[in-house]
């Protein structure tokens, strides 16, 4: 999936040379030399992780484990996707864990105790998340309280609300028969459907590429040679089909990760192709310039926080669905850090304005792969904590250093 990213309009190589496959490769090489590494280190890291764990435990790359990994990664990925948006506007939300926990509790209470229709419960949970985000955005834009402090208070406060909702027993079980749980655990695409989706995705890439080429030619702009789109689509198709085939050796392609990828595509579209997305990047890059250009800075900040909290809530719902219960532990401990770490590892800058929706996918794959590998090795959560923490620190250090080197080269 990561290949498609390179094809988006933003990263096109030098147009004066025309767009052919060779340019694409050489442009990529040029960026590498410039130190604009993009997602390469993460992809390499992912491969290293895979090889390492496979060597230590051959079950790591077994289809069964990979299916589990996709299921495990999806809820966290959804949360990380929200964090990406907030990071892009150069803010942070430390409370995504608590908010996801709260949302899982809301769904549990609504569905089991109050016997509300399931969808209403889910909607209530997401609405609660959005409301929390709006509250953060309001405090930030109206009072100027730094976001990490507001959300630190939120981390504590909403954890409490979660516990209150769950009541003294500390957990609400959602029976396995509940569609929500089934969705998260047993809904798998039939193989043909998975292949169809892979095909549609590839066709989509191809179609989008060709349509863009047509529009660019009409606008008398240099455009990629059709071969570029075709190769990209074929590659994508190949990769996806391989993945679907491999997963189908076990239970197959689950619905939940597909939902996550759909959300990523949607957010990616919003970020790259709409005014709102443009103002997100502008606000994150240079709020002053954004304000002077007449962009709605306050609105952008508030919506970014709302999206973040709403996605955190959705992630919490999925987590509860996957576990079949909403407990005091949902969203606790490392969810927060995993989500933030995933976003930063995937390449979204802590300092705003750089990154994209796909970084949530990459980051969450890294985090989930590590945690799954460590679990396979029978190393307990403690080591996982340490490794995640170290990876987060590493990502932030890389981010800080590259920012400084950009600054020293006049590319602040």
């Amino acid at each position: 999936m990561s290949r498609e990213r390179r094809g988006t309009a933003r990263d096109l190589p030098d147009p004066s040379a025309g767009y052919t496959l060779r340019d694409m490769v050489s442009g990529f090489g040029g960026r590498l030399r410039d130190g604009e590494l993009g997602s390469l280190p993460v992809v390499v890291g992912l491969v290293v992780i895979a090889v390492l764990f496979q060597a230590l435990n051959p079950r790591f790359l077994a289809p069964g484990n990979l299916v589990n990994l996709t299921l495990q990664a999806a809820p966290l990925g959804v949360i990380a996707l929200g964090v990406v948006v907030v990071l892009l506007v150069a803010q942070i939300d430390l409370s995504v864990g608590s908010v996801s926990g709260l949302a899982s509790a809301v769904v549990g209470v609504a569905a089991m105790r109050l016997q509300w229709p399931l969808l209403v419960g889910i909607a209530a949970a997401i609405a609660a998340g959005a409301a929390i985000g709006a509250f953060y955005g309001f405090l930030l834009t109206r009072f100027g309280v730094p976001s990490f402090l507001i959300t630190l208070a939120g981390l504590l406060g909403f954890l409490g609300v979660q516990l209150v909702l769950l009541g003294p027993s500390g957990s609400i079980n959602i029976p396995f028969s509940n569609p929500l749980v089934q969705f998260a655990n047993t809904w798998f695409l039939p193989p043909w459907a998975a292949y169809v989706i892979a095909g549609v995705a590839a066709m989509g890439v191809l179609g989008a590429g060709l349509a863009r080429r047509r529009r660019r030619l009409r606008a008398q702009l240099p455009a990629e040679h059709p071969s570029v789109s075709i190769v990209k689509a074929v590659l994508l198709l190949g990769v996806l089909c391989l993945a679907v085939w491999y997963l189908s050796l076990d239970r197959g392609t689950a619905v939940m990760p597909v939902l996550f990828l759909l959300l990523v595509v949607a957010i990616s579209y919003l970020l790259r192709r709409t005014r709102w997305g443009r103002s997100v990047f502008a606000v994150g890059g240079n709020p002053d310039a954004a304000r002077r250009a007449g962009l709605p800075v306050t609105r952008t900040l508030v919506t970014a926080f709302m999206i973040c909290s709403a996605f955190a809530a959705l992630g919490g719902v999925l987590q509860a669905a996957r576990l079949g219960s909403a407990t005091t532990l949902t969203g606790s401990a490392d969810t927060n850090l995993n989500a933030i770490a995933a976003a930063i590892i995937g390449g979204t800058s802590l300092f705003g304005g750089r990154g994209g929706a796909w970084s949530a996918v990459l980051g969450v794959l890294v985090i989930s792969a590590i945690s799954s590998g460590l679990t396979l090795l029978n190393l307990d959560s403690s080591v996982r904590y340490m490794v995640t923490g170290a990876v987060l620190l590493l990502a932030v250090i890389v981010d800080s250093l590259s920012r400084r080197s950009r600054a020293s080269r006049g590319r602040a």
Binding site: A407, S408, R409, G410, A412
Partner: protein, 515 residues
Amino acid sequence: MANAPILEMRGITKRFPGVVALSDVSMTVTRGEIHAICGENGAGKSTLMKVLSGVYPYGTYEGEIIYEGEEVRFSDTKQSESAGIAIIHQELALIPQLSITENLFLGNEISRFGTIDWVASQKRARELLDLVGLHEDPDALIRTLGVGKQQLVEIAKALHKDVKLLILDEPTAALNEAESQHLLDLLTGFKASGMTAILISHKLNEVQRVADSITIIRDGKTVETLDVTAGGVDEDRIIRGMVGRSLESRFPQRTPRIGETFFEVRNWTVQHPVDPDRLVCKDESFYVRRGEIVGFAGLMGAGRTELAMSVFGRSYGTYLGGEIIKDGRPIQITNVHEAIENGMGYVSEDRKTLGLNLLDTVKRATVSARLEKISRAGVVDELKEYQIAEEYRQALRIKANSVDEGVSKLSGGNQQKVVLAKWMFTDPELLILDEPTRGIDVGAKYEIYNIINQLAAQGKGIVLISSELPELLGMSDRIYTIFEGQITNVLPAEQADPESLMVSMTSTRRTRQAA
């Protein structure tokens, strides 16, 4: 002018917590004259007028006010208004969303049987507007008028209240010349019809033109009252009264005693901190002698500050090359701490973001650049700190209630003095002053010049960076000019004039070569 005085203020003293704003001020205003009050900012003019108009009620000040022959004790502005005293403040008290008529009669509506008589109001409004020479539709909204016209509305409003004594606080500050002229003519016209006016103004030419007598206030005290009608009062005379000295000596006299060269910068080259394509200092060299004041002239952005800061412990940009030679041997200075230890000091042009921690008190700020001097084993001797700060406070005449006062509460001039004190305390041999008098009162400027001269007399080398050419010409012994990061010229002060400097400040060409 043998009329009886309409107003006499005797021995007015007004205290604010910790400050005496007015001490024993007396003035007499003759009926039918225009009486001007002059003084520097903060001299107490506005306070005096607030006492008169009842903003500060009777009892909060000492002294007596005799108006129309009897002592009055206003407890609010309403009372003074009904006595016929109207004050027009700098900030106009008009409501922009209402019409001229509505504003004119605000609080004094012309009413019949409890309802506002709009017909009569309109008529009266037209009369009043005619009186002040404002030809506007009385229904026009205030916000559609310019400041000058609003001022006239304000005056018309006062006229409606049957005013005997009109006080104008800086009426022409915001007006252009034509409008000012009109206003002053109006005043003279009113005088002819027997009204008395008190005019507070900074514009001495106006004052000189329309006033019959001038009371000068300095530091909350009446200095003198000049009778303009008697002649011999010109702007210089007024200024002398205001600042307490003649203005020929805007820059205090000093006999330079210049010693040997002790500080030299050679081939100094610095790169812009983020843009590597840019050099902010290109191979620059200069030197400073003991007891010498060296001026640096350049337009904003020419690289004066960049040069100074990069020399001062490389606190700006990326150092590329060049050396600093002190007392004949090269020294390595890589950070500010070393710069201070090597006897350098730098007073920033931006005292709020680079010069002071605004959360500090005067005493903490004073010692902050050289804490080692008053500490033993890392422990600050608070007694010494207090004494030193107090010493500087008195020596530099820093106006603060005590050295425990927060610097954020001080005025710009006094903040600047604190910054100066802070650097004097480090006992530098070379003191770089970057725009030391920007945004500062004339009086305070003079004091700062005095301090600079004293420092030079002690044998310190002073680098004075300034945007004001008269200041550079008046203070320096030698002047370097900088243009686009390069030193383009150097002139002894006596050979320099504004044009020759400006030429070198705006191009690389050199008019005259000098040592």
